[in-house]
């Protein structure tokens, strides 16, 4: 690969990222908001990450 080709790749990548940044600024970051909501709700409702997994209340040995 020549040095010129390397800069070309950098240029294209930066252009794509710039487009991505513009997108981020316009559109609501739904996934990040969901993570933030989960952290706050776990705190307010005192849900520990362990307690979230479905409980199996069946005693061991029950048919």
């Amino acid at each position: 690969m020549t040095g010129r080709a390397g800069w070309k790749i950098v240029g294209v990548t930066l252009a794509c990222m710039l487009a991505g940044c513009v997108t981020i600024n316009i559109y609501f970051p739904a996934a990040a908001a969901e993570r933030a909501a989960d952290r706050i709700i776990d705190e307010v409702w005192q849900l520990k990450p362990d307690a979230v997994k479905p409980k199996t209340d069946k005693p061991a040995g029950t048919p």
């Binding site: 950098v10 908001a33 909501a37 989960d38 709700i41 705190e43 307010v44 005192q46």
Partner: protein, 141 residues
């Protein structure tokens, strides 16, 4: 600059750009004193609200609030107190959604944040609690 030098410089620029991009996408800011205070206030209130969710007196609305769903599930003497509790909770929730939007420099995100929370409150509600579905009807989880 040699060819190898140019390539190295190009890679370095790329690496820095990727790091910055990843940081920009990562998380919403929720670690502010205002948000922490609201969180504590709601956590303290939850002890009183929890039995009301369980009895079905209070339910989770589709717009990220709580509402008195079944007044008959509350003794008459306590109804005013429950109404005050619901009002205080909704006030904190509204402030929370507003503060998160503000902390991220995007006040216009408030309604999107509210909608996200509305869904997550319902998703994380315990079995037996009531929530409003998309058409506004109360559903027992």
């Amino acid at each position: 600059m040699t060819r190898l030098g140019a390539l190295r410089a190009a890679l370095l620029v790329l690496l820095l750009a990727v790091a910055g991009f990843a940081a920009a996408q990562a998380n919403l800011e929720i670690n502010t004193p205002a948000i922490a205070a609201l969180q504590r206030s709601m956590q303290d209130r939850h002890g009183q609200l929890q039995p009301l969710y369980a009895s079905g007196a209070v339910g989770l609305t589709r717009d990220g609030n709580v509402a008195l769903r079944d007044a008959n599930a509350v003794p008459l003497a306590q109804r005013a107190q429950v109404n005050a509790l619901v009002a205080a909770e909704n006030q904190d929730r509204a402030a929370l959604y507003r503060e998160i939007a503000r902390a991220n420099g995007k006040p216009e995100w408030e309604s999107d944040i509210r909608a996200t929370f509305a869904q997550r409150w319902i998703d994380k509600a315990q079995p037996g609690w009531y929530y409003q579905n998309a058409s506004g009807a109360w559903v027992k989880k």
